[in-house]
C-alpha cells in the first residue's frame, strides 16, 4: 500500500511555502508540484527566491510556514533519493583537496558515520568524472580548475549520489561552451534515465531548448507547467514586471525567445 502511495506521489510537492529573511518575505505562499521525469527550470528575476526555493525543498533554510514532501514523504525519510548541486561560488576552491576527493563526498551519505570511502566509492567517483569529461583531472588539486571544470566536479559529486531527484542551483552560471554542452547532455541523460531534474536558470533564451517544464517565480509562483504552455510573453511579463524585451515573434507552438532586461 505504501509502495503505491510512493509510486503515485509527485517527486516534489510544495504546499503554502513561505520563507522570510528577517522581516522580508523571500517566498510567499508557494504551491508547486513537480511531476516525475521532467527537466524543469526555475526562472525569475534576481531576488525572486529561486535559490531559496530549492534550499527550502532541501531543508537548508528555516521556513515560516508550509510543507515540502519528497515522493509523498518528509525529506528526512528519503534523503538519499535527492541530490544537490550548489552554486559553485558557495565553497572555497582553495581548500586543500583533490577533484576525486570532492566527488567521493557524494557517497558520504550512503557511507554513514565514520566509515571511510574505499575502492567502490573511488570507482563510482571515477565513473562520474568520466561522464562529465573530467576523468583525467581526478588527481588534480581543486584550486587549479576553471569555473566550468569546478561546475562539472560538482555535477559529478551529485551523480555519484545516484539519486532520483536532482536539484541544481545555476549550473550554467559563467561556464564555458564545452561545459554548457556537457551539462545539457547530462541533463538529457538524467531525464532519459527517468530522473526528475530541477534547475535554477538565468538565461531565458535557452529555456525552450534545454527544458520541457518551467516554473516562473517572483516571490510568489506565477505559473508552473510544460514550457509550451507556461513560457509565454504574457506570463513572463508578469514574472519580470515589464522589464523584458522579446527577440522576435512567438513561434508556432507559442513559446518565445526572450531576454530579461533591467538589472541583469
Amino acid at each position: 500500500m505504501l509502495a503505491t502511495a510512493t509510486a503515485t506521489a509527485h517527486p516534489i510537492t510544495v504546499r503554502d511555502l513561505t520563507v522570510a529573511y528577517h522581516d522580508r518575505a523571500v517566498l510567499w505562499d508557494v504551491d508547486l508540484d513537480v511531476p516525475r521525469g521532467v527537466l524543469m527550470a526555475i526562472v525569475g528575476p534576481n531576488g525572486a527566491g529561486k535559490t531559496t526555493l530549492i534550499k527550502a525543498i532541501l531543508g537548508l533554510v528555516p521556513v515560516v510556514a508550509g510543507q515540502v514532501r519528497i515522493e509523498g514523504k518528509p525529506l528526512a525519510e528519503v534523503r538519499r533519493r535527492v541530490a544537490y548541486v550548489p552554486q559553485r561560488g558557495s565553497v572555497d576552491w582553495d581548500f586543500p583537496t583533490s577533484v576525486l576527493d570532492v566527488v567521493m563526498m557524494g557517497r558520504y551519505g550512503a557511507l554513514g558515520w565514520i566509515r571511510r570511502p574505499g575502492h567502490r566509492e573511488r570507482q563510482a567517483a571515477l565513473d562520474a568524472l568520466e561522464q562529465v569529461g573530467m576523468r583525467d583531472f581526478a588527481g588534480r588539486q581543486i584550486s587549479q580548475l576553471s569555473g566550468g571544470q569546478q561546475q562539472r566536479v560538482f555535477l559529478a559529486r551529485a551523480l555519484v549520489q545516484d539519486a532520483a531527484i536532482y536539484l541544481m542551483d545555476e549550473p550554467f552560471q559563467g561556464v564555458d561552451a564545452t561545459t554548457e554542452r556537457t551539462i545539457v547532455g547530462l541533463l538529457r541523460d538524467l531525464r532519459s534515465a527517468g530522473k526528475t531534474v530541477v534547475v535554477v536558470h538565468h538565461d531565458l533564451q535557452t529555456v525552450p531548448e534545454y527544458f520541457d517544464w518551467v516554473t516562473l517565480l517572483n516571490v510568489r509562483k506565477i505559473a508552473s507547467g510544460p514550457v509550451e504552455e507556461v513560457f509565454t510573453p504574457e506570463l513572463l511579463r508578469r514574472t519580470y514586471g515589464g522589464h523584458i524585451a522579446f527577440l522576435g515573434q512567438p513561434d508556432q507552438d507559442g513559446t518565445v525567445a526572450a531576454v530579461a532586461g533591467g538589472e541583469e
Binding site: P86, F95, G109, R115
Partner: protein, 304 residues
C-alpha cells in the same frame, strides 16, 4: 649544542617543558588547521580569552590550584563563549567578527576583574593565577604533561574518528547537511576539540598568545601542501618544532620567557614558509615570474 641536546633528554625541567611544549604544539597545530581552513582563525583568540574568567572562577569556587581543576574551568568558559558567538551569528544580525570581538572582550574583562579581585585577597594561596595571562612554562610538572597528553590525545583521536565528517563540514557544510549529517552538532564537536587544544596550552603560553599557536602552524603548513591530511600532519609537526625550539632557546638564557619564544618560533616558521615554499612561496613566485618574462622577451626578439 651537544650540551643542549644532552639537557633536552636528561635535564628534568627542560625535558618536561620541551615535552609539554611539543604536545601543545601538535594538538593546537593540528586542530588549528580546521579553524584556518574555515576562515575562523580568530575563533582561537576568542576561546583563549574567554577561558580566563573560567580559570578565576574555578579557583574561587574550589580554592584549588590543581591544573586539572583550572583547565576544566577554562574549558567550560571558553566553550560557553564560543557557543555564544555561534548563537549570536545564527539568531541575530551580528556578524561573526563582531560577535567574536564582543565576546572576547567581555569575557576577558570579567576575567581580569576576577583576577584582580583574587590578588587583592588576604590569603597567600592565590599567587600565580596570573601566569595564565602570559603563561609560565617553567612551572610545568610531569603530571601536567600527562594531563596535557591525555586531553590532547582524546581530541586527536576524535578528530581522526570523524575525519570524513569534519572534512565535509569544513569544505561544504550545506552539502553535508543535504546528505543528512547534523552540521550544527559537528560544528560544536569541532569547536569543542579546538577548546581542548587551547586549554591544553594555556598554562604554558597563556591566554594572550595562545591563538598564535592555533593559527601559525596551520598557515605555515598550508604553504607546503595541497592535501588536507598532509597539511594537518605538517601543522602538528610545525607546532611541535616551534614548541621544542622555544623551550630549548629559553633554557639557554635566564629570564627568557618560554611561551612568547614558542610563539616567535612559530612565527619564524610562517615567515620561512611564506617565502620559500614551492608553488605558493614569494621567492618561488618571483623566480617563476622572472623566468616567464625572460622567455617572453626572448621569443619577442626572435619572431621579427
Amino acid at each position: 649544542m651537544p650540551d643542549l641536546l644532552h639537557d633536552l633528554f636528561f635535564d628534568y625541567t627542560l625535558r618536561t617543558v620541551a615535552l609539554g611544549a611539543a604536545i601543545l604544539g601538535i594538538v593546537s597545530g593540528t586542530l588549528g588547521s580546521y579553524a584556518v581552513l574555515r576562515r575562523q582563525s580568530l575563533l582561537g583568540d576568542a576561546i583563549s580569552h574567554a577561558a580566563l574568567p573560567g580559570i578565576a572562577l574555578a579557583f574561587l569556587l574550589t580554592g584549588s590550584k590543581a591544573p586539572l581543576v583550572l583547565v576544566l574551568g577554562a574549558a567550560v568558559a571558553g566553550w560557553l563563549g564560543t557557543l555564544l558567538v555561534m548563537g549570536a551569528v545564527r539568531t541575530t544580525r551580528v556578524k561573526f567578527d563582531s560577535a567574536l570581538g564582543i565576546i572576547l572582550s567581555v569575557f576577558f574583562g570579567i576575567g581580569l576583574v576576577l583576577l584582580t579581585f583574587i590578588q587583592k585577597r588576604e590569603d597567600a594561596t592565590q599567587a600565580g593565577l596570573d601566569k595564565f595571562l602570559f603563561g609560565q612554562a617553567a612551572t610545568i610538572l610531569a603530571q601536567d604533561v600527562v594531563t596535557m597528553a591525555a586531553l590532547g590525545g582524546v581530541a586527536l583521536l576524535l578528530m581522526l574518528l570523524f575525519w570524513k565528517e569534519l572534512k565535509l563540514l569544513s569544505f561544504d557544510p550545506e552539502f553535508g547537511s543535504t546528505l543528512g549529517f547534523p552540521i550544527r552538532a559537528l560544528d560544536i564537536l569541532l569547536t569543542t576539540l579546538l577548546v581542548i587544544a587551547i586549554v591544553v596550552g594555556l598554562q604554558m603560553v597563556g591566554v594572550v598568545l595562545m591563538s598564535a599557536l592555533v593559527v601559525a602552524p596551520a598557515v605555515a603548513a598550508r604553504q607546503w601542501t595541497d592535501r588536507l591530511g598532509l597539511m594537518i600532519a605538517l601543522a602538528g609537526g610545525f607546532g611541535a618544532l616551534a614548541g621544542v625550539s622555544g623551550a630549548v632557546i629559553s633554557s639557554t638564557a635566564a629570564r627568557l620567557p618560554t611561551g612568547p619564544l614558542i610563539v616567535l618560533c612559530a612565527s619564524a616558521l610562517v615567515l620561512i614558509s611564506l617565502c620559500f615554499a614551492p608553488n605558493r612561496g614569494i621567492v618561488w613566485n618571483a623566480l617563476r615570474q622572472r623566468r616567464n618574462r625572460r622567455r617572453l622577451h626572448v621569443e619577442g626578439e626572435v619572431i621579427p
